[in-house]
């Protein structure tokens, strides 16, 4: 939203041109910040591709080695980590939660932005209020519910409570409000579309950019979830975060094994980031402007 404005202001010639250029000192500071920011990720890869013997080296090794295949093989063969199962579980859980959140949040966001109904504003306010509540604090009764339903140690327990979030609904509402022209909806209505038909054929296509960002954020967050899976799943049916936790528990001195685990656990996120990095950054910055 603000980018074009800022670009326009900056492009204007005049005395500001020199004042706003980054000084060499600014570049230096940013380079240091980037190095610090990337070093732990780089270090993880260095150790994951080497043997345990280098960990004690002085000075520490700074280049990746060629042993990743070996370490990964040990990782997937490890009987305590259930690593492959953890990866599959995480893929299923994150995929299901992401699809469902995008669908239900855009549906509700559309309703709040474009449909008139009694109690609309009060209900929207309720949703905003729920965003302030740290849901983790209800973890004890949540666990009791799962016991009652017989869902402990099953994947429903880590999927169903997160099918749709207040944040998602609110984000979609904000976007739908400005991205979907009322005339388009009226026209579809006159053509005999049902309300759901309007959502499916007119609104959802228009919401695609915001839906994409919400999907990415939801996927990353779900993939990253730790405390609730730790409470409700057993070590033999883990998500990938619990798999590396199992490893850290039992093999805390076997660094190349653990780091191979963390690398594989982070890899899907890094791939998502490399492909969609720009959209993620745009999403964070746009969300910030609206908040």
């Amino acid at each position: 939203m603000t980018a074009p404005l800022a670009a326009r202001v900056r492009r204007r010639p005049g005395r500001m041109r020199g004042l706003w250029d980054a000084s060499p000192l600014t570049y230096l500071a940013l380079v240091v910040a980037i190095v610090l920011s990337l070093f732990p990720i780089y270090w993880m890869i260095v150790i994951a591709t080497r043997g345990n013997d280098v960990v004690a080296d002085v000075p520490p090794p700074m280049l990746p080695g060629g042993q990743f295949g070996e370490n990964a093989a040990r990782l997937f063969a490890n009987e305590d980590a259930y690593f492959l199962k953890g990866l599959l579980n995480s893929a299923v859980v994150s995929g299901a939660v992401t699809l469902s959140t995008v669908f239900f949040a855009s549906l509700a966001g559309f309703a709040f932005a474009k449909l008139r109904f009694r109690g609309r504003n009060a209900l929207l306010l309720t949703i905003v209020a729920t965003m302030m509540i740290p849901v983790q604090m209800g973890i004890i009764p949540l666990y009791m519910i799962m016991v009652r339903l017989g869902w402990q140690n099953s994947l429903q327990a880590v999927i169903v409570p997160f099918l749709v979030t207040g944040f998602g609904v609110f984000m979609m509402r904000q976007y739908a409000d400005q991205a979907v022209p009322d005339e388009l909806i009226e026209a579809a209505r006159v053509d005999g579309c049902t309300t759901f038909g309007i959502y499916w054929r007119v609104v959802l296509p228009a919401l695609r950019p915001a839906a994409g960002v919400l999907g990415l954020l939801t996927f990353m967050q779900t993939w990253n979830e730790f405390m609730w899976p730790l409470a409700v799943l057993n070590p033999d049916n883990p998500t990938v975060q619990l798999s590396i936790n199992n490893l850290a528990n039992a093999y805390f001195a076997d660094y190349s094994l653990m780091f191979a685990g963390t690398t594989v656990a982070v890899l899907p996120l890094l791939v998502v980031f490399v492909i969609f990095g720009r959209q993620i950054i745009g999403g964070i910055m746009e969300g910030a402007v609206k908040a």
Binding site: L5, A6, S23, A33, V55, F104, A111, I140, N224, L269
Partner: protein, 323 residues
């Protein structure tokens, strides 16, 4: 059905329905109820898995409640009375607040600095932004494992670098203060880039003319930053402070993994030196089968988060207002 008995509205859409052929009536019904249908999934999920558990936590906290033992005795406010005098709980409070301060203040100040740097016109600005948010797309548990190794007493990179300067070696997991520093380093590392982007977005919305005028009046860059940028960023700063407060006081994953190798990971070190409130709650409920007491801790933490958010909100607002 009862809605059909109301007088027909006179607007364009309602007119065909007045004749009430079955299909139109259906269409009108659809028009009225589909909004509620569309928003119902959120409310259903929230009521069952969000709102109800939060309230029910209060009910559980009034009991001596064990899932394994089968106990469920009503004990009134006993859990809260015990909590008030529980040294383990208060130590966890001190740990949490200590880590929170070490993690939040540098985080937001550095984020401001990074944002101010990114706000300059420069080459490869996208590259710098991507580099700064990369930590956000790693998983917390994975990063905690990597940092635990980086802060290892014997083989860690941090102690190696400190050794070059003639300092150390520091035993990061054992000393209380140092363990806080190591854990806050993970939090700072992860969130500085995210907050910097949020600040950057807000900075770009500030009209450049303001700076031009200040520069003509002879204000230095530093002075421009404190007297123009920071005051105009106040709402954004309040937002980030609140978000950091809610997240920081619930800190869990990082300290749990930092205790790798100890017999009970929820202890937060042999002397409980980095056990946070959430870990203490988790340990009581899921480790010790004391769900009632765990629920009392959860409520205490919830109230603490509200109180801290309010205090921070007022502090930031006043600090901004006097500048």
């Amino acid at each position: 059905m009862s809605l059909d008995l109301r007088p027909a509205r006179t607007d364009r859409r309602a007119r065909p329905a007045a004749k009430a052929p079955p299909r139109s009536r259906l269409a009108r019904f659809e028009l009225k109820f589909s909004p509620y249908l569309f928003i119902s999934p959120f409310f259903l999920v929230f009521l069952v898995f969000g709102g109800f558990p939060l309230v029910y936590t209060l009910w559980v906290s009034l009991h001596d409640w064990g899932l394994l033992s089968g106990n469920r005795d009503f004990v009134g406010l006993d859990n809260f009375a015990y909590l008030a005098g529980d040294g383990d709980f208060w130590r966890a409070v001190v740990n949490t607040v200590g880590i929170f301060l070490l993690a939040t203040i540098p985080q937001l100040l550095l984020a401001l600095g990074v944002a101010a740097a990114l706000d300059r016109r420069m080459k490869a600005s996208t590259l710098f932004r991507v580099g700064m948010v990369a930590p956000l797309v790693t998983s917390t548990a994975a990063v905690a494992i990597v940092f635990t190794q980086i802060f290892d007493r014997d083989f860690g990179v941090v102690n190696y670098l400190l050794g070059l300067a003639g300092i150390g070696p520091i035993d990061w997991t054992v000393a209380r203060g140092w363990s806080w520093v190591a854990i806050s380093a993970m939090v700072n590392w992860r969130w500085i880039g995210y907050n910097a982007l949020i600040y950057l977005a807000a900075m770009q919305a500030i009209p450049r003319d303001l700076y031009e005028a200040a520069a003509i009046d002879g204000a230095s860059r530093l002075r421009q930053f404190w007297q123009i940028t920071v005051p105009l960023l106040r709402p954004t700063i309040v937002f980030t402070v609140i978000i950091s407060t809610i997240g920081g006081l619930q800190l869990f994953t990082e300290p749990v993994l930092f205790g790798a190798g100890s017999s009970n990971r929820m202890d937060g070190g042999a002397m409980h030196q980095f056990q946070t409130i959430t870990m203490y709650m988790f340990d009581n409920a899921f480790g010790e089968d004391r769900y009632g007491y765990g629920a009392a801790i959860a409520w205490a933490l919830f109230l603490m988060i509200i109180a801290f958010s309010l205090v921070n909100f007022l502090l930031v607002r006043r600090a901004g207002g006097t500048r």
